[in-house]
């Protein structure tokens, strides 16, 4: 009859944490940072189909590092949580804090009760009415939550890169400056952060999305293609993404496009009586 060796709970937890940390460290980092007109989410991700950054709800976005299948499952659960809550109550009642709590419980519960912890680290961001109201929650594999301010980097080398990010970030950045900073952070060699960016990261290898401030409904936009190249190009005058016209706003709101202007000039048929 075999006898199990006694392993102290501290040892079990330490082993699990080490296991999760190693898994996460293999992936590339993700940077989330506030800028004057919203929150930018930047990941190094050459894939166009497998996203590390995605939309959860009107003002809430999700960014993750680690094992794709595990964070994808959490992302889908988050979308279901948000849509169910918004449908049962109201769109205004879906908050990043509630979602972060649900994620924390899930991650913590898997960490302690299941055979393998989730090898993921997650950021949940919610854009507010002003830059001070922006919220970023960082969730780690064991379910701990940190309320981050301004800018945060997650991933294997996050500790080494956090200094570079904190040094470059300040409130009220323009989008182009925020993206340049994020690219600099992602290109920095974590073994030697003081040496500056070591690699060249073209726009095509970055996955970029923003949560646009001030929209009443869905504010998540992917920034890609030519616009991203222009924002990343230091010589190009483009520093902001164009504002999205708010098509679902009340029609009387100022700046509403109303009817398309390029319609054939006709007497509007107003003068014609019934046939």
């Amino acid at each position: 009859m075999t006898q199990q060796f006694y392993v102290s709970p501290e040892q079990v937890m330490r082993d699990r944490a080490d296991f999760a940390r190693k898994g996460i460290a293999r992936g590339r980092s993700v940077v989330v940072l506030c800028f004057d007109a919203g929150i930018a989410l930047v990941a190094e991700n050459p894939s166009r189909a497998l996203h590390k950054v995605s939309e959860i709800y009107d003002r809430i976005a999700f960014a993750a590092v680690g094992k794709y299948n595990e964070f994808e499952n959490l992302r889908v659960a988050g979308v279901r949580y948000a849509d169910l809550r918004g449908y049962s109550y109201d769109r205004a009642d879906v908050t990043a804090r509630g979602l972060a709590n649900a994620y924390a419980q899930t991650l913590g519960s898997v960490f302690t009760t299941e055979s393998k912890p989730l090898e993921v680290e997650i950021l949940v961001a919610e854009v507010g009415a002003a830059e001070e109201d922006d919220q970023i929650y960082r969730l780690t594999y064991d379910g701990s939550v940190a309320d981050e301010r301004g800018a945060v980097v997650v991933g294997g080398a996050a500790d080494a890169l956090a200094g570079v990010l904190a040094e470059g970030w300040r409130p009220g950045l323009r989008l182009a400056d925020a993206l340049a900073l994020a690219r600099r952070v992602l290109a920095t060699d974590p073994a030697d952060p003081a040496a500056g960016p070591r690699r060249d990261l073209p726009g095509a290898s970055l996955e970029v999305a923003v949560l646009e401030r001030g929209l009443p409904r869905r504010s998540f936009r992917r920034v890609q293609g030519e616009l991203l190249e222009r924002l990343l190009d230091a010589d190009d005058p483009t520093v902001d993404a164009p504002r999205t016209p708010d098509l679902l706003a009340p029609a009387e709101a100022p700046g509403h496009p109303g009817l398309p202007a390029d319609t054939p000039a006709s007497p509007s048929g107003e003068g014609s009586g019934p046939g």
Binding site: H51, R80, G108, G258, L259
Partner: protein, 288 residues
């Protein structure tokens, strides 16, 4: 009748997200609700025993919706009246809603159930878009709505029918399209124009005479308003433009740029134009 349980929000073991949230595969919010908490679905609630609803419980009904195409897209308009029996239940109800950025849905029938169906439909389209990272085709959206109408058949047989009208801009085919439904969920694509609701017979007659599919959006908006006016003229459940209170039909335009609601001031202008033209015609005919 069993009490409706409170919606099951995260609160499973130790507050973690319930297992149904983690099931891979389904991109449909309706299917997810069906497995997680079917009582939230309009068509899945237990029906009270017995036949149709008692007449004294007559819930508000929404009435006439018209839709018509023009070369760059589609226009949908709905009057603002809800009726309960012969009484006016509401003067300012809105029956034309954006379904997503490139489609809209108008409702006729039992207002409460119809509005709930539209809410679910909106979430359904957005949910698919977020989970899959791609927008449904216009036919796909029309078919989802068809499933929802079919799910309501039990209630429809008790007199609580909902008949939507769906229209949108087909980004693949680059044109506006209109879909109509029957209570069993049958889906029919309409050519040019269509109307649903109690005043639809009169509105359709007007659309037949007035609709010129090659004209621009301004004329399409005016035609929609005029068709609603004709429906209100003959159907007591359809409201016309209320110039005293400043209540005018809801008019939406969907084109390549997306859904837009025509500003109320513009609709008021168009409605006044229609009425002025008719007054002028009447005066020309001389006193009767």
């Amino acid at each position: 009748m069993p009490a409706t349980p409170a919606p099951q929000l995260p609160g499973g073991p130790a507050g973690r997200l319930p297992a149904t949230f983690h099931v891979p595969g389904a991109a449909s919010f309706t299917d997810f609700l069906g497995s997680h908490d079917p009582s939230l679905l309009p068509g899945r609630r237990p029906l009270p025993a017995g036949g149709a609803l008692a007449p004294e419980l007559d819930p508000p009904h929404a009435t006439t919706i018209v839709a018509l195409t023009y070369p760059g897209g589609v226009v949908m308009a709905g009057d603002r009246r809800a009726t309960a029996g012969s009484a006016i239940a509401h003067r300012e109800i809105e029956k034309v809603f954006p379904a997503d950025t490139h489609s809209c849905v108008g409702i006729a029938g039992t207002a409460g159930i119809a509005v709930e169906m539209v809410r679910l439909f909106q979430v359904e389209l957005e949910h698919f878009e977020k989970i899959e990272g791609a927008v449904l085709s216009l036919d796909g959206k029309a078919n989802r709505l068809s499933t929802m109408v079919r799910g309501n058949l039990g209630l429809a047989m008790q007199g609580l029918a909902v008949v939507p009208l769906f229209a949108g801009y087909d980004l693949a085919g680059r044109r506006g399209r209109i879909f109509s439904y029957d209570v069993t969920g049958g889906r029919y694509e309409e050519r040019g124009h269509h109307s649903v609701g109690s005043g639809s017979v009169f509105a359709r007659g007007a659309l037949k005479k007035l609709h010129r599919p090659t004209r621009g959006v301004d004329e399409a908006v005016a035609t929609a308003v005029e068709a609603l006016h004709d429906a209100a003229d003959d159907d007591s459940a359809t409201g016309g433009s209320d110039l005293v209170r400043g209540i005018h039909p809801v008019v939406a335009v969907v084109d390549e740029a997306g859904y837009r609601r025509v500003p109320a001031s513009r609709v008021a202008e168009v409605a006044r134009g229609v009425l002025d033209a008719r007054t002028a015609d009447r005066l020309e005919e001389g006193p009767s």
